[in-house]
């Protein structure tokens, strides 16, 4: 009898904290992928410190500097982020839907294939056989193992996306959830859909290079390659964007029990992403031969900026969710008491806020402006670009993923979070470091510093250039290094907490994992009954939400505003955006006439 039961009902447990049914296959796969991602993050961090300090301290040869730079790019942009996202896809499509992982053996084989791909690509890069950078622009050539490794990894992500959708379809069929997908899973689905066409164009681009490298294709047209490559080069970042926004919504639910003021609007914004955001790939072809004016404008504006419109919806919806949740717990004074009284000692919350703020103000604004056709001329391939994408994928995505890990890892491994004080400071150290790094890169880049250059002194150039050895440049490059060191320390703190939790965390079936008052079930009852919610609870507020009338009393003071503080913040944001737009044009107008 028990044997038949096991056959029909694979091993699963009910989470004491969240009330979800946790499928063990899904749990192990999600953890394995996320942990592999964090291993990549650690390796990429070591590379980052070597690259950053080469200019100041380390006597790295130029050859090694370029090698490590190539490895850093692929390790972080591809391996770390996509592995973690695969983990998040498995988490969202099984645990959040009370469902089980379909074809777990395929998923494990796929995981092994992805790791093989990583090993091949890393071998080629670190032995100097693939010093072509993440972009791998032809006619630069790399060892075929590099292209094949990246292709294997990309196919692995595609398989994971197929499994994600299979899980959702089967969960719907089995009735483990009713109605629409939870918002977080919906956002992950948007990321997955964007991932499909990003990875397919990427497979075409790298496929051409692979065929060329083994002699099956005579030449690869550099302009055609750039068009396809940026389908994944930028497309993968749009996957990161959609996944990050989904994680933001998850963190709002996990740390505050909040939800969007208007969930339909947030879902609509994800639809806009799916429809238009891939057009942004043409951002990279603004000053390329071969592209026409209308083609550039339509694409770079994501079709009349409809994808940016989606981001502006989230820019309102995310802080409004935080504000309404906080006002619901009684922090209703003034415009910003809800923000001041946020659980700032809670790593999930501080990660969320910093990810949102730095992504919005720095990454978002800089991204739209540098992708603006004419302004692109003063940004293209400068260090500003590098500052921009560090603020998107490090300040934004990586910070958000770290924040989520503070919940997922304890909940999935059934262990109590260790080194809580380190965790408490980690988001501040990490974000502060990345902020310094990105701003310094942006200033240097705006003044003309080129990207991917081992030595800005141009000492050995036939026609010397001393511009980057004088003025603000040495200080800016020094600040980049200081920021990098801080960020890597912040990253190491994160890895330390995770490793300590996984290896030495106290086994428990109720890992509080920070503020879990978002969940009404057992945790809420414990708090309400006055049972101390473990040592962690005192780190933040333990206020219990009133059951109804969340925003009562608010209307009298703020007329008909639902989220007045948020409204003030987004108005300030828009003003900042407009000022940056005008300032950029003033800079452009002073240059030599060109066309």
């Amino acid at each position: 009898m028990s044997a038949t039961l096991e056959k029909t009902a694979p091993p699963s447990r009910v989470c004491n904290v969240t009330g979800f049914t946790i499928d063990r296959n899904g749990q192990q796969l999600a953890l394995a992928n996320a942990v592999a991602g964090v291993v990549m993050l650690s390796f990429g961090g070591v590379l980052a410190i070597l690259i950053a300090l080469q200019r100041q301290i380390l006597p790295l040869s130029d050859d090694w500097w370029y090698r490590l730079l190539a490895a850093h790019g692929a390790t972080m942009l591809l391996f770390w982020l996509l592995l973690f996202e695969v983990g998040a896809l498995y988490w969202g499509s099984t645990m959040l839907l009370n469902s089980r992982m379909r074809a777990p053996k395929v998923a494990w084989a796929n995981f092994a294939m992805m790791l093989t791909g990583i090993a091949m690509a890393q071998w080629a890069m670190l032995t100097g056989r693939a010093t072509v950078m993440f972009t791998a622009y032809p006619p630069l050539e790399a060892h075929s193992a590099y292209y094949l490794g990246v292709l294997l990894f990309a196919v692995g992500v595609l398989v994971a996306i197929v499994l994600f959708f299979a899980n959702i379809v089967m969960a719907k069929r089995d009735g483990t959830f009713t109605g629409s997908l939870p918002l977080v899973v919906y956002g992950l689905a948007a990321a997955a859909i964007i991932g499909v066409y990003s990875l397919l164009t990427g497979a075409i681009a790298y496929g051409m290079l692979f065929l060329h490298s083994v002699g099956l294709l005579e030449t690869v047209d550099p302009a055609t390659y750039r068009l396809f490559f940026w389908g994944i080069g930028h497309g993968a970042q749009q996957v990161n964007l959609a996944a990050m926004v989904a994680v933001w919504y998850a963190l709002i639910g996990l740390t505050l029990g909040g939800r969007p003021v208007n969930e339909g609007l947030s879902r609509f914004a994800f639809l806009l992403y799916i429809a238009f955001i891939h057009l942004g790939a043409v951002h990279h072809l603004m000053v390329d031969p071969g592209t026409g004016m209308n083609h550039r404008i339509m694409n770079t504006s994501y079709m009349l900026y409809l994808a940016m419109f989606a981001s502006l919806i989230h820019a309102f919806s995310i802080p409004a969710s935080i504000e309404t949740a906080q006002r619901g717990r009684g922090y209703r004074k003034g415009l910003f008491q809800w923000l001041k009284k946020g659980p700032w000692g809670e790593p999930g919350f501080s990660s969320l806020v910093m990810s949102v703020v730095f992504f919005g103000f720095i990454a978002g604004v800089s991204g739209v402006l540098m992708g603006y056709m004419q302004l692109n001329m003063i940004i293209h391939n400068t260090l500003f670009t590098v500052g921009h994408f560090h603020s998107t994928v490090v300040s934004g995505t990586t910070m958000a993923f770290m924040g989520l890990s503070y919940y997922l890892v304890p909940l999935l491994s059934q262990r109590r979070l260790r080194n809580v004080r380190v965790a408490k400071w980690q988001p501040y150290v990490f974000s502060g470091g990345v902020l310094l790094l990105t701003l310094a890169m942006m200033v240097a880049g705006r003044l003309g510093a080129p990207r991917r250059v081992a030595d800005l002194s141009y000492e050995n150039a036939q026609v010397g250039v001393d511009q980057f050895s004088t003025g603000p440049f040495p200080m800016m490059m020094g600040l980049v290094s200081v920021g990098a060191v801080l960020a890597v320390i912040g990253g190491a703190m994160f890895v330390w907490v995770m490793v300590a939790t996984l290896l030495r965390g106290e086994k428990t079936d109720r890992p509080d994992a920070g503020l879990v008052y978002a969940f009404g079930t057992p945790e809420r009852e414990r708090v309400a009954a006055g049972v101390p919610a473990g040592e962690r609870a005192s780190a933040g507020t333990t206020a219990v939400m009133e059951p109804s009338g969340r925003l009562k009393g608010l209307a009298k003071r703020w007329h008909d505003f639902e989220a007045p503080g948020t409204y003030a913040i987004v108005l300030f944001f828009l003003l900042f955006f407009v000022v940056m737009y005008v300032v950029s044009h003033l800079g452009l107008a002073r240059l030599w006439p060109v066309g």
């Binding site: 339909g264 009349l304 419109f309 056709m373 391939n381 009404g520 639902e562």
Partner: protein, 191 residues
């Protein structure tokens, strides 16, 4: 309106509503007042940014060039050599300096690891820079003006520039082009 958020905080099973749980059946709500205001502002800003690019095409003097042609790298190299032979004036740090007539077509060749020849231009004159690469992709970055363009082998990119300042303007490569990327430079001298 006295009470704005009248939404239930728990679903039918008594679980609190959250972004992690499926929403109640009807999650499509009408826009709230501040949402409506924000979306109108955001929409206007989107349209301003979009039309701004077309407006700048008319009122601005700095445009991303579009004129380009396919060209065989070998043909391009020969055209550059003919151009250099015709207008060569001196040698400088081992690089050939050319002084083309004002307002003419001017060749600039990007190769691993130099932009050649060194160009001597006159202030206030408009030149058509004919740029291409003979090997891999390069990035033409004119400093400290800070104008940046992509250079591809097989494609001739026509960049019309009008120097408005006198002085020496170095060119650096800002697209990774191999292990000598950090020594790849060129020069434009404006009299």
């Amino acid at each position: 309106m006295n009470e704005i958020d009248t939404r239930p905080t728990h679903d039918e099973q008594g679980r609190e509503l959250s972004t992690l749980y499926p929403p109640r059946r009807r999650w499509l709500n009408r826009l709230g007042p501040d949402e409506r205001r924000w979306l109108i502002l955001a929409g206007i800003w989107c349209l301003i940014l979009f039309t701004g690019m077309y407006v700048w095409l008319v009122v601005g003097n700095q445009q991303a060039p579009v004129e380009s042609y396919r060209i065989d790298p070998i043909d391009f190299q020969q055209e550059v050599q003919a151009f250099v032979a015709e207008h060569e004036v001196e040698e400088r740090d081992g690089a050939t300096v050319v002084a083309p007539p004002p307002g003419s077509d001017v060749y600039l060749q990007a190769s691993q690891f130099a932009f050649r020849p060194v160009l001597q231009l006159e202030r206030g004159e408009t030149y058509r820079l004919l740029v291409s690469s003979t090997d891999v992709q390069h990035g033409l970055s004119l400093q400290p003006v800070n104008l940046n363009f992509q250079v591809l082998p097989g494609y001739l990119y026509v960049i019309e520039i009008t120097p408005t300042e006198v002085g020496e303007f170095p060119i650096v490569c800002n697209e990774f082009c191999g292990l000598g990327h950090h020594v790849m430079t060129g020069l434009i001298v404006v009299d």
